[in-house]
Symmetry: C2
Subunit: 649 residues, 2 copies
Amino acid sequence: MGISEPVSKRNVKINDNFFGYYTRLARDVMIPYQWEVLNDRVDDAEPSHAVKNFRIAAGLEKGDFYGFVFQDSDVAKWLEAVGHSLMTHPDPGREKIADEMIDLMEKAQCSDGYLDTYYIINRKEKRWSNLCECHELYCAGHLIEAAVAYYEATGKDKLLKIACRFADLIDSVFGPEEGKIKGYPGHQEIELALVKLYRATNNPKYLKLSKFFIDERGSEPSYFIHEWEHVRGKVSHWTKKEEPAPNLEYCQAHKPVRLQDKAVGHAVRAVYMYSGMADIAYETGDKDLFDALRRLWLNITKRQMYITGGIGSTRHGEAFTFDYDLPNDTVYAETCASIGLVFFAHRMLKMDLSGEYGDVIEKVLYNLVPGAMSLNGKEFFYVNPLEVWPEACEKNPGRHHVKHRRQKWFSCACCPPNIARLLASLGDYIYSVNQDTLFVHLYIGSEAETGLCGKRVSVRQESKYPYDGEVCFVVSADGPVDFSLALRIPSWCRKYEIYINGERENYEIKNGYAVLNRAWENSDSVRIFMDMPVEIITSNPKVRENAGKVCIMRGPLVYCIEEADNGPNLSDVALCPDSEIKTEKSADLPEGTVVITVKGIRTVDDEWDNDLYRPYRKKIRPVEIKAIPYYLWGNRGEGEMQVWIRAAQ
Amino acid sequence: MGISEPVSKRNVKINDNFFGYYTRLARDVMIPYQWEVLNDRVDDAEPSHAVKNFRIAAGLEKGDFYGFVFQDSDVAKWLEAVGHSLMTHPDPGREKIADEMIDLMEKAQCSDGYLDTYYIINRKEKRWSNLCECHELYCAGHLIEAAVAYYEATGKDKLLKIACRFADLIDSVFGPEEGKIKGYPGHQEIELALVKLYRATNNPKYLKLSKFFIDERGSEPSYFIHEWEHVRGKVSHWTKKEEPAPNLEYCQAHKPVRLQDKAVGHAVRAVYMYSGMADIAYETGDKDLFDALRRLWLNITKRQMYITGGIGSTRHGEAFTFDYDLPNDTVYAETCASIGLVFFAHRMLKMDLSGEYGDVIEKVLYNLVPGAMSLNGKEFFYVNPLEVWPEACEKNPGRHHVKHRRQKWFSCACCPPNIARLLASLGDYIYSVNQDTLFVHLYIGSEAETGLCGKRVSVRQESKYPYDGEVCFVVSADGPVDFSLALRIPSWCRKYEIYINGERENYEIKNGYAVLNRAWENSDSVRIFMDMPVEIITSNPKVRENAGKVCIMRGPLVYCIEEADNGPNLSDVALCPDSEIKTEKSADLPEGTVVITVKGIRTVDDEWDNDLYRPYRKKIRPVEIKAIPYYLWGNRGEGEMQVWIRAAQ
């Protein structure tokens, strides 16, 4: 179906049943709360020091750098979230705080444009000496993303100029030309950021530099091996002593990107890189790059993705492991990785109008992302497990990385501001257009305005998602406009009906979209009713961890069972897949939440006394299993949780 | 039933169907093979350098110490195995090699008695400065055990004198007296060794020193914290830099041993300590110590023991985790830990004649120990998993510690010589006596001679174990001797019959033993027929990992399924617990092996194509499941293996 352009959040006003709450939370709670954390003003939260690092770098305070080498990016991601938020919700007080932060950044920037407080404070001479481990280009990328967002929202270009000066310096240091470093970032991010900078400034050198980083990556001889051996004397930033050569798969530098076909290594790096590759493929029409992206996309979504939209099966390197290896308890599924997967999907959608991208974006947005934050917006998961036994999280070191309580902050605090910037820019993900079609990718209540066939068209979407599959659209246009409205039919949806102005309508299904073509009149309405029964889902049998297990879904929502409803030892619960299923409201969860009850069995365990093993006897009792949406787990005290439940067959 | 003394292997001649092979392997293959490895003469095996360290320490060669700080113990354990072997199977050639090694150790010993090559080579001044991490007392313990075994076997006391000189030095350095170090070993071992030395020499100071180490452990203020802070400047032996205070639970020094009630920390340390505690309890009649041991015994065997006899659920610290946490795939279950569990059980049995100890010894001896070695005696497992997915072992770092192939040697090579010394001393574990009873703990074909009621009595045992439950005993005595023959009725045995001279006999059951009392005549025979049906076993429902799963046992043997017989993706296999079970011989496993076939189901997975998740449909096909004894797994090429199998209910 070819290429489309997202309708910018600038022209999309969200007014949604579900995401209204979360986007408001991002604006009213998360952004201010995170500013407090970045300034170390929240008790009991991990110290950040991120703003202070800029003050020290600017010479306004004495002190040492503190935090991870990528601490600056927390401020940048926060500023980006502020930019997104100001675009749709102007707020002079917030803008003033951001402007002051930008003034501080300007003061911290070196005269040649360099801006990374870790190196500015005490390590000036070490710049660019450890690309593999030290995140300078990553932080630069986030700075650029923030600058573009803030510029687009406010029209103010101070931060954009800061970013351009830094990007110009980077362009003078890196590139294929004689005398320049033929390196690339250890943690990808600047690639996609430079494409944003190119689009904001129209300066093609930024696009060229991004393409250089993409093209150079994984070529032989490896820059990272050269750097390890000849630039940093084999010494690791992390251990401060000599270490073996870096693992190139970890940062996807093991082969040229166009030859990669399996998602490997650090999951966030991977999806950020794929996003940058997709930007380059879009801008340049590079077919090889697009083909590689399709392979990588399919490998992730058909082989390495949790049903919640989580990716990354191991904490070791926060990484992908291999096809069908999706352990639920020792899982990683970092929040940032799924957010990066949304970035990747969104970019693929621009080039390849297929419903599968919206399906994955929807999966992440309704399950992993809201699950990664508490209902009050102040506590977060970094790791998003599908099975939690709190005692094991505490007492089995192989599961220490899995927390059963959301945390106020993290020493490595990449995830919370990533959630904030995603939610603050949610308007970008709902619609896209090409010449004659308005695509609806997400059923999020909103008003959107865009140009179609040379005319301005508005659409108002009213959605009862995710608890009801009825969605209504009302078109506003000056007289009849001949265009197509393409509604994504979610992969979970097996039955639906579409009405235009109350009449059943015929439509064409194309790549997962119901395409409604007509000469639209003002006030024409479209109503889609998607059947949303509870479904019992199984995994591909090759997923060892889910053998014999099922999971409950309803619409886009993945459900889970919690100790709060089902008592301890959830692994003892088995679900009867063919039994009657009931849905009901819940008293102890947010209004509107649909909980599901289904019949199951448990063992009769009071006869076990002290034995650990004994001959098999089928001794079971019936139980009623109560499941709640996964995204709400862990909001009612501590306890066990499970997404995949044994099936009683 | 009170106290008994083991019948020494000196008076037990093994002539067994099953262990004949393994003990011969220990003698004829493992001991010579391990000597080659210790001398670095085996290609492709991890380098050992253990003998070379002694040559360097003795001044016969130049060079540096190489290997772990406890490398000496590999030689000591080998020498101990040689001692055990020479006791039952004299071999002048082997004795000569051992004598030469002992001569070398004498040369390496310092004039004050100190003998630890790690410290003798280049670190003399650092002696006793890091008890917590550096294994000096552990190595001393193994040296003592070797010395006692070699002395008892050969009557030669050179190594015993070396050991006494070292023990005397240790006694002068450690103890409650003013000016002595109030420390204890980081890795327990010397405690049980000193009791052996006491018994061999009758010198009570060794018993007293052992008791000091036991009593002092875990007292406040902690010696290890003091040492960390004031003796070694917080610097770790392992990282060579400052590290946080040691984890006292890791080495069971978190509280006084008499107050401990859960098995925690490094599993080998734990069971070695419990063995030493049991020795002290036995020698001193310390009731508090015995009570603590009972609590710890029950905690291990009723809460933290794999069905194979493995202990230690996590590789992190090679440690116990917590009750009912028995993951099959990320398991540790170190070979040495189960061998230590045998030591512990054997010592408990001396004080507490109950069948449960023999049950555990039997479980370890027929499952974990032979499973930890290849059929040729030259390859070993350090970690003994109950579930193996080779691709995950290679590609998921959380399972890298689980090997799917036995290894020729290990850089940390504690396990292979431990197997050798256990098998070479197997005769010690079969029988014990008190005044009027001969206890049979293990059904291992053998001839034993002992004193009973003041007379010499011999018993010949013929056993078809572990594949048949028929065992026969023939008594040899000079005229009638009135004593009891007590036969352990294994916990797996639900039905059995006992005949004396062909007649059904009445007997009393006492603490798990059938006690046959009579005036035994020469040539009296006892025959016990233990029914050995295949049993389908379940775990306590609190063992999360085994929920809905069953395991196949027959007699003492735990069975497993392998990819070689059942194809890949074993987790997809479900066993029908109530279906017909067949036993048969196997063509591709050692003669006599009984394999088990049982009906099961698998999913029909050829319809899955590319999907990762889809709605539940019960689509299964019947399969025949073939199970082999666990101890034989991994001898027919590489592939998946599983002990716990999903039950189709």
